[in-house]
Amino acid sequence: MSKSNLSSKKLDRNRIADVLIIGAGPSGSVAAKHLAEAGIDVVCLEQGHMPDANKYSGRRPEWELVSQKQWHPNPNYRDGERDYPINTKESAVHPLMFSGVGGSATLYAGHWTPFMPSDFRVRTLDGVADDWPISYEELTPFLEEIEREVGVSGLGGNPAYPPKMGYPTPALPIGKVGSKAAECLDAMGWHWWPGTNAIPSLPHNGLNACVRRGTCMSGCPEGAKSTTDITHWPHAIKAGARLITGARVRKITTNDAGLATGAVYVDQSGREREQKASIVIICANGIGTPRLLLLSANSRFPEGLANSSGLVGKRLMMHPFSAVQATFNEDLESWRGPFGQNISSYEFYETDKSRGFVRGAKWGIMPAGGPLGATSFVGSKAFTDPDAKVEDMWGTNFHDMVERRFGRSMVWGIIGEDLPEESNQVLLDPTLTDSDGIPAPKLLYKVSENSERMLRFNEERCVEACLAGGAIETNVFHQMPDTGWHLLGTCMMGNDPKKSVVDQWGATHDVPNLYIFDGSTFPTSAGLNPTATIMTLALRQTRRLIEQRQKQEVA
């Protein structure tokens, strides 16, 4: 084995890259930009393509209709050319993701909610799950730097967080929806704060300012929602990184010494190719990453790559999610954007064991969309009763429902912390494959009793607040299946190689030059949207890799 001084020389197509990144989503993009700017040769393989903002439907009248199919976040339902299927027959939550440069953030709502101090110490504080090997304080400088790259909008001083640097752009308007939601929480004396969003209110780092079109979750046609195809890849490519799209990675290759040597992938035309590299970083999300490690099993690593702990694929966390739709007897213009979070509440975030569960949940208020939104939620027909009679949902009741709800409703999203359990896991399906014949993942996932109690408690409090604020109708949608936006935990980070897959720097314990920088490394999930912490962690790990480049063991 040798030590390598990672070079800054440019690569030709067949040259061994210094670093191969698999996946051009939030974490892979951060790594690519910063490694390339440090003079390191970077190649990134992305199974999807560079997004074309002109294809986003937000400016067209059919936006709501096509959002329910072509831009649906569930790849099994969307069934796009670059999606891979996922067996979810034994999963209570359906995973949501998008293949493309920018990753699943292409369809996210941009809720920017960094993990809280307590999230890194749940074992110490609550006696459950595991502490992280790093702390909130260690991550904060990297968070503040990432927020500048992302162009976060927000208002400083939120008492739910320790003091930190302000945001690079002012908070977006909370609108009539946010004002009404704040009135509801004020009526109870509960916490709220103007939403922090990865949606800039002013032009920033290649992004345009938000125009409040409200179609964030089907791709922003204004270039005003922060995704890394805009914020990071132009910098990475300018610095010399090479991005190969339409590339489905089949396996990570290793040598006799047990070091990673690159990856085999299937290109857009179906040809199998190999990209060699001195270091490999996987950034393929909490399902794609363990899938790839399991696919890479060989005689030296018969249970899958980096899996001596047996934990690859286990401890899947997806955040069971409930929604509360509240309707008011006044015009809230609730089709108007942004479709991030107008305000959020952390009132019930920290543990209070008298509630019958540990940990807690964040609430975020969102608009309700257009007239079809009166019967659906981000593409899911969640508000439809399968046992309803025709006249319950249609006829004069249809007009009544749209008249009552359209423009006058808002939707609280309740994200509860999902504690890790080894029985919740990602496996390889024995028969299902993607269109290139690569085995697809299969999920085993049940909602825990703790999550069930947590969601019920928060739903009840949320309804109380809505009624206190004057709601004329509330509808609770408990633990909706199509809500697995956050795919976490399947390659756990820790200090003990017997109980974790990677160390705090994302290096796998078993393969010294194989790294994982995505959310699969999270020991716990918090009760928050994870993109802020995923990107922050990726920056910290990338910086460490750059600093340690002289000492890095490579094939």
């Binding site: 009248p61 209709l65 074992r123 320790p162 209110s201 938000c210 249609w394 007009h399």
Partner: protein, 146 residues
């Protein structure tokens, strides 16, 4: 797509769409805004995935009383009725006439005129009440148990 929707199917759709979306308190029936005309073909072009369920429902309903047909589909082929209902309602709310009636301008661009202006929730003291209640996070313990 045009060849899939012959006059018989179009007439069947017209009947069921008026059951689902009738005239009511100033709102027009689906047929009044021509959801069964060019809009129908347009919707099916936008959502080809709906075609199979949609046509199956229409063919099973051909010649039947529309109200009875809708009830029969709801009980025996819910997916078909859902497809017919989505085609009807999507087309209905895409027509300018209906959008005007419900006060929906579509997902329009309406930028914030002054992002640096002091928000009302600050100037009216609402947010100060939240701040005055103090921090609500639990600080990181000095030592971890790992």
């Amino acid at each position: 797509m045009m060849s899939l929707i012959d006059d018989t199917r179009r007439t069947t759709f017209l009947g069921i769409s008026d059951v689902l979306i009738p005239e009511f308190e100033g709102m027009p029936a689906a047929s009044s805004v021509e959801v069964h005309g060019k809009m129908l073909d347009h919707i099916l072009t936008l959502r080809p995935d709906l075609v199979e369920d949609f046509l199956r429902g229409l063919d099973a309903s051909c010649g039947k009383d529309p109200e009875f047909a809708a009830k029969e589909l709801n009980e025996g082929d819910h997916l078909a009725l859902s497809a017919i209902g989505l085609v009807a309602s999507a087309g209905y709310y895409m027509t300018p006439q209906v959008r005007n009636l419900i006060g929906y301008p579509g997902q329009e661009s309406k930028p914030d005129t002054d992002p640096d202006a002091t928000p009302e929730y600050v100037s009216n003291g609402m947010l100060q009440e939240v701040i005055d209640r103090g921090p609500i996070f639990k600080p990181t313990p000095l030592k971890s148990n790992i």
